[in-house]
């Protein structure tokens, strides 16, 4: 039920995973009127930092997702992977990357802001997935101008751009000195709610007062760290329990491993593991 980053996912699905070391998912230009700024699209969500990893239970080496040709029973390298639209049993029409880009050639390298809006007008049901844009070489000043001006005017830019098989409607806004890009759902994708919303009923003042009192007792400021800590503590407790039963397993040396090293959490874990072990 977790949503994944659709842009990275579509790249991975087409066998074109990001180069290790480069964190950009896409590079191109963001423009408004006659100003064009070279940028890179990067992730704003990274679930891999605190998560479980798939391992081979024979040698405890990490697993990698690859495409397999069932006919030849071989792993297929990215350059041998093509995209096909199915028209019948085992019948496909092959569509190339270049042909895909041709569908909207003006939008495949440029995020063109068509208009600016007040982001508060965008109902959260429209939000799909967040990213950041970072400036590429030479674009830094114009980038910061856009960040600063959107911050002062409280506006967000609306744009469409094409990546792979999809055209994304996006909102670009200023967040803590950076440009945040959120993909939005199209209104035609939003399911109607008429059948769900209950009919208007008369609510007694007493009823509302009771709820209001309940809410007032529980007013707080949103502190996302608190919930992350709760989960971290749960993981920690599980690892402690596990480390009593089992020892650490070690993966063999591999030249290149996908993904990132463990996050800050690890220091805390190591420490508590040591305590557990020394007991």
């Amino acid at each position: 039920m977790r949503t994944r980053d659709p842009i990275s996912e579509s790249k991975r699905a087409s066998g074109k995973e990001e180069e290790p070391g480069s964190h950009g998912i896409w590079s191109g230009t963001i423009s408004f009127s006659l100003v064009a700024i070279p940028v890179q699209l990067v992730k704003a969500v990274d679930t891999g930092r605190v998560s479980f990893r798939m391992l081979h239970n024979k040698d405890y080496s990490p697993l990698q997702r690859r495409m397999l040709c069932p006919e030849e029973d071989t792993i297929v390298p990215p350059e041998e992977i093509i995209r096909g639209y199915q028209t019948g049993p085992e019948k496909y029409i092959v569509v190339t990357d270049e042909e895909l880009e041709s569908v909207s050639p003006e939008r495949s390298r440029t995020i063109e802001i068509i208009e600016f809006i007040d982001i508060k007008e965008v109902d959260s049901v429209y939000y799909d997935h967040p990213y950041y844009l970072v400036p590429s070489k030479g674009g830094e000043r114009a980038y910061h101008l856009l960040v600063e001006v959107m911050r002062r005017t409280n506006k967000a830019g609306l744009a469409k751009f094409v990546l792979g098989e999809r055209e994304y409607l996006v909102a670009v806004k200023s967040v803590e000195g950076a440009l945040s890009l959120v993909t939005l759902h199209y209104s035609e994708e939003i399911l109607p709610t008429e059948d769900i919303i209950p009919e208007e009923v008369k609510i007694e003042a007493d009823e509302k007062r009771r709820i209001k009192e309940g809410i007032n007792k529980m007013r707080a400021d949103f502190d996302p760290e608190k919930y992350a800590d709760l989960r971290r503590n749960k993981i920690l407790a599980l690892l402690k329990k596990k480390s009593r039963e089992k020892v650490l397993v070690e993966a063999p040396e591999i030249e290149e491993v996908e993904g990132k090293g463990p996050a800050d959490l690890i220091a805390a874990l190591e420490e508590s593991m040591r305590k557990v072990k020394s007991r």
């Binding site: 969500v45 096909g84 209001k212």
Partner: protein, 256 residues
């Protein structure tokens, strides 16, 4: 259960409880492609392979591990994480209420529409109160053996539940380590004018997913054996840093 209800639960706080059914809020339709092997056009299958011996690993030989030190793992069953939660719990427990707008968009994951399960009186009273007080409830629940945190909010008479990401899954903007640049007040003023000229109300219906139709058109042309002309993507020339003011002035002239 009405069509589309995926789960039933009960919102709980203080001595208030509101039974609800969860419905998905989004339906995406798109042209689906499959990945094929270039040589023989055989449809490819996703397979986990061992990074060490490069051999496919069947599901039975896969384990989950938590990396404690580089290359060192504790083998765990992630489902054990959920073991502390009482089984078959239907409780969506609200822990606190925060002002609407405090939860930054980067945390929002997926929105569920809530339908009252049975009587709608408390449901409606809660929706109205949340709107009046401009607050959202931060809650946790376990659905299909997974723990979630979420924001309970109202949209008119409708209650909604958004699942939230954990703070350690979100990349903070400061992690991007962007350098600051000094900007002239003149540039800022002209750019602000420009943005105000280009501003309007958010009208989502205006944006259609025309791309899907165009994509289908491309496939149909290819199916008929027509030749497809490949157009090169248009690349915009970046505005040179010393031409920024000039580009802003010219833009403003165009729209003003």
């Amino acid at each position: 259960m009405a069509s589309g209800a995926i789960w039933k639960g009960e919102i709980n706080f203080g001595n208030i409880s509101v039974p609800v059914k969860l419905h998905t809020s989004i339906r995406e339709e798109r042209v689906m492609f499959h990945l094929l092997h270039k040589r023989d056009h055989v449809r490819l299958r996703q397979q986990m392979i061992c990074a060490y011996d490069r051999q496919p690993v069947p599901a039975d030989d896969q384990a989950k591990g938590f990396e404690v030190e580089e290359g060192k793992y504790v083998i765990v069953d992630p489902e054990e994480l959920e073991e502390t939660v009482p089984e078959s719990s239907r409780v969506i427990e609200v822990h606190e209420f925060v002002s609407t707008g405090q939860i930054s968009a980067v945390f929002l994951e997926r929105v569920y529409n809530l339908e009252p399960d049975g009587r709608s009186k408390e449901y409606t009273a809660l929706a109205k109160t949340l709107t009046e007080m401009a607050v959202q409830g931060v809650c946790t629940w376990t659905m299909r053996k997974r723990s979630y945190i979420g924001a309970l909010h109202a949209n008119g008479r409708l209650l909604r539940l958004s699942t939230l990401r954990y703070a350690d899954e979100v990349v903070p903007a400061k992690a991007l380590e962007l350098e600051r640049f000094s900007l002239s007040e003149k540039e800022i003023r002209i750019a602000s004018d420009l943005i105000n000229h280009l501003s309007g109300a958010f009208q989502p219906e205006k944006f259609k997913n025309e791309h899907q139709k165009k994509l289908q058109g491309l496939i149909d042309r290819k199916a008929r054996g027509e030749k497809v002309v490949v157009l090169r993507p248009k690349r915009l020339k970046p505005t040179a840093p010393d031409k920024l003011l000039q580009a802003l002035e010219a833009s403003l002239k165009q729209v003003a």
